[in-house]
């Protein structure tokens, strides 16, 4: 399915969706965070889309916004898109978990929580995965400073 066809179907899933292919090989869809879970479940269940394989889930710090990038693939229909969601609140960033749609999101959301501090609603057990529970700060944020362990050029 071409990017135009994908865009045509996905447009009806929500409001205020932004589509772009600039600087990327995939069709990028920027989703408002309130609609993330409903759009994801429609992406998976729609018979012409069937995005069942979330092959990469990336945390991002676009200063000042934080966010998550979902690379999605349909193993049956072979098309791919990229979903982006942003959250402006750096103190208490919260998004909806999509682990009930793609189970791989469980671990990836733990990784993102660990390194970016984004909390996920309805996640089965949100905890520090790589770092120790008492670790302060979120290392992959751009404003993270650790004078003892980081070499800044």
């Amino acid at each position: 399915m071409t990017n135009e066809d994908l865009q045509h179907i996905i447009t009806s899933f929500g409001t205020d969706l932004e589509f772009t292919t600039e600087g990327s090989e995939f069709l990028n869809v920027i989703v408002p965070k309130e609609q993330l879970h409903s759009i994801c479940s429609q992406l998976k269940s729609h018979p012409e889309l069937k995005f069942d394989y979330a092959f990469c889930i990336t945390g991002m710090d676009w200063v000042p916004a934080l966010g998550v990038i979902y690379h999605l693939n349909s193993t049956e229909l072979k098309h791919e898109i990229v979903l982006k969601v942003m959250v402006d609140d750096r103190e208490n960033p919260t998004l909806d978990s999509v682990h009930d749609i793609w189970q791989t999101a469980d671990f990836h959301e733990l990784e993102i929580f660990d390194f970016f501090g984004i909390k996920f609603n309805n996640h089965p057990k949100l905890r520090r995965l790589f770092l120790t529970p008492e670790w302060e700060g979120f290392p992959l944020r751009k404003d993270y400073v650790d004078e003892a362990n980081m070499i800044i050029k």
Partner: protein, 359 residues
Amino acid sequence: MTDQQLQNKIKTEEYFINMGPQHPAAHGVLRLILTIDGEIIKNVEPDLGYIHRSIEKMCERDSYQQIVHLTDRMDYLSSHINNVAVCLAVEKGLEIEVSDRVKVIRTIIDELTRIASHCLWWGVMGMDLGALTTYFYAFRDREMINDIFEETCGARLTMNYNVPGGLMFDIHPNFVNRTKDFITHFKTKIPEYDRLLTGNVIFQKRTKGVGILTREDAISFGVSGPTARGSGFSSDVRKHHPYSAYDRVNFNEILFTEGDTFARYQVRMMELWESVSIIEQLIDNIPEGETKAATKAVIKLPKGEFYQRVETARGELGVYINSTGNKNPYRVKFRSPGFSNLSILNHISKPRFRNTIFY
């Protein structure tokens, strides 16, 4: 007395047990928090990060040439394939087309790396089940590959043979002959592997029907590589998104549908034959050409996002580079196959006996 009656009679209670972080059967540093009732596993919670080296954060500081050298430490059994993944992503950003010679050499070394990695896996898989001989057989053959690498790249494990735009230098004059000798030797050894372990009744009893992963779960958990193909999920990046010279060789994607440990074992064993076949198709036809395309000393990727995936010995490795046009990437994400594959551990290992978790 039936099992159920016996179970009712014997009072047991759940308790926690730590497996790792250092454990002789865990090849790497991994802590598993097991909840067990008697010998039955109720829950497995992996605790990661004992050897997390913050490579993604280091990438944001380093130049694109430097990033390549960090990646072989992510998985030193697939070091060359990891290097190629980053080089391909950077080449995609720079819109460089490497020469046919580079593509073919990369593919041959990729497959040698895969054989070396599968050899190690086969050796330690047998060893964990108590068959120590497998370890020595596999390491004997793997040693030959390491010698070939050493002669060409100067390193045996972390090879650093690739740079964005091609190879660091040309292959050693002995490379072709030694690889051919190895292939001739190895083709007589795979049947030996099968005779030693695959047909063994004890081995089959301990792997068949253990750790069953369905195709739907494999997709949902983002599982890839031989683990996914043992469950019938066609996920071979070399087939679906060919890179290097994989579009010009004939090979089969090995698929099994049982989804148990034995199916995953068979996928890897048959992949050895496919890797041998790929190398045989290419080794006599390495085209002439330059080994490195001209790149600037300071590589700056254009503004944008670049995603490249490759098939490592463990599955799909994705490299996501987000560039703002500087000499350093803004964000690099490695979608490593092991991380997603590990997440199925809790799902497939219960309710099983505790000793099955090792395989």
